[in-house]
């Protein structure tokens, strides 16, 4: 890779007619300025103008955004909702845990009123969910698992072994062969190991 140019916050990079602003930059009076200390990256996305962004070696904290798929761990359940800690946003681990809530009506897409949180999640489960709202002053991030690919991915049975999914609503313990109810995520075919 050719040596990339160093830039600091406040550096004028180019005019808005030459490039489209990406991450790490901001627009002011028709010019693009850098907002981070790092390297300037120009990428041709296929449209007419290249996208200009500033990157650092260590990525800054990413915040969960609306529509992002997050990986979280269930901390407590309640007949009305489940509280989770958000650990990963996409595939980036977070340095700090953010708190989230999965309401009872957001667990499934069908038969929302007949959901029992005790039969969908248990504390300690790892769940794939999507952010639907950043919440307001009182609440945390609101998440949903109302899709086939969202739900529990890793769960441990009451005897402590990691369970195997059998259907979209059941998982089985390989040691005791006891079936437990969970809202299971459908694994994408490309992630299954032969």
């Amino acid at each position: 890779m050719s040596p990339m140019k160093l830039c600091v916050p406040g550096d004028k990079l180019c005019s808005v007619e030459d490039c489209i602003p990406g991450t790490g930059v901001y627009l002011r009076h028709g010019y693009i300025y850098s907002s981070l200390a790092g390297y300037v990256l120009r990428k041709n996305e296929g449209e007419e103008l290249p996208v200009i962004s500033v990157v650092r070696e260590t990525e800054t904290q990413l915040l969960p955004d609306v529509g992002a798929i997050v990986t979280c761990k269930v901390t407590s359940i309640n007949p009305r909702f489940a509280k989770v800690h958000i650990l990963y946003v996409g595939s980036t681990p977070l340095k700090d845990r953010f708190r989230g809530t999965i309401r009872k009506e957001d667990v499934r897409a069908t038969e929302k009123d007949k959901v029992e949180t005790y039969k969908s999640f248990r504390p300690g489960d790892i769940v794939l969910a999507k952010v639907i709202s950043l919440g307001d002053v009182q609440s945390n991030y609101l998440l949903t698992t109302a899709e086939n690919e969202l739900g529990v991915v890793v769960a441990h049975s009451e005897s402590g072994a990691q369970m195997v999914p059998i259907s979209w609503c059941e998982m089985q313990c390989p040691r005791t062969h006891v079936k437990e109810f969970r809202k299971v995520a459908r694994v994408q075919p490309e992630y299954l190991q032969a």
Binding site: V8, P9, G10, Y26, R28, T58, E59, L63, R97, L134
Partner: protein
Amino acid sequence: MAGLELLSDQGYRLDGRKATELRKVQARMGVFAQADGSAYLEQGNTKALAVVYGPHEMRGSRSRTLHDRALINCQYSMATFSTAERKRRPHGDRKSTEMSLHLKQTFEAAVMTQLYPRSQIDIYVKILQSDGGNYSTCVNAATLAVIDAGIPMRDYVCACTVGFVDETPLADLCYAEESGGVSSLALALLPRGGQIALLQMDARLHQDHLETLIEAAMTACKGVSKVLDEVVRQHLQEVSVLTGE
């Protein structure tokens, strides 16, 4: 006051500097591994350490959450050994609270908080040795720490304290000059756009001199920004050499 001349006839100050000369600025970024961003800055004999955590989820009172931007939480404190006499109350006293509010105001102007709604950025600054210009050193150290943490900012924030003696503006006051009854003005500037983030003065100054004093402060801040720029670029190059880019 007999004997102590803040500005001699030849134009030299108490420590031998000229009127517009700044003290030596030395700084290092990334001094702590566990914090998201940190910096240590010396301006003459004044030494400050700044640490930045964030952006992270709101801690403490959730009612202070801002729905569209990040909340900047600043804390200023002085080490008990930083002054000539041991300081009895390093934080919580009125001066520290006022400084913390000033720092918060300064950084809210520069940090792009709209990118991190409903989260919090913590900036903690500690003065290890105090020899005048505490606020300016804090702002400069905190700027480097915020850049080290990778939090987007519009521009550097550079600060300097200036005083007015014998019709001459003195740049970068030391403790002896500040306590010698000089009308001092502290200015925090975003150097490239020339935008003032904070201007503070609580002394008496004739209106005619205000313009000159602000001009002198802006020039001094731009001088500081050059030094900070050098430090940041050098740090970036060092880090890239280590990661093998």
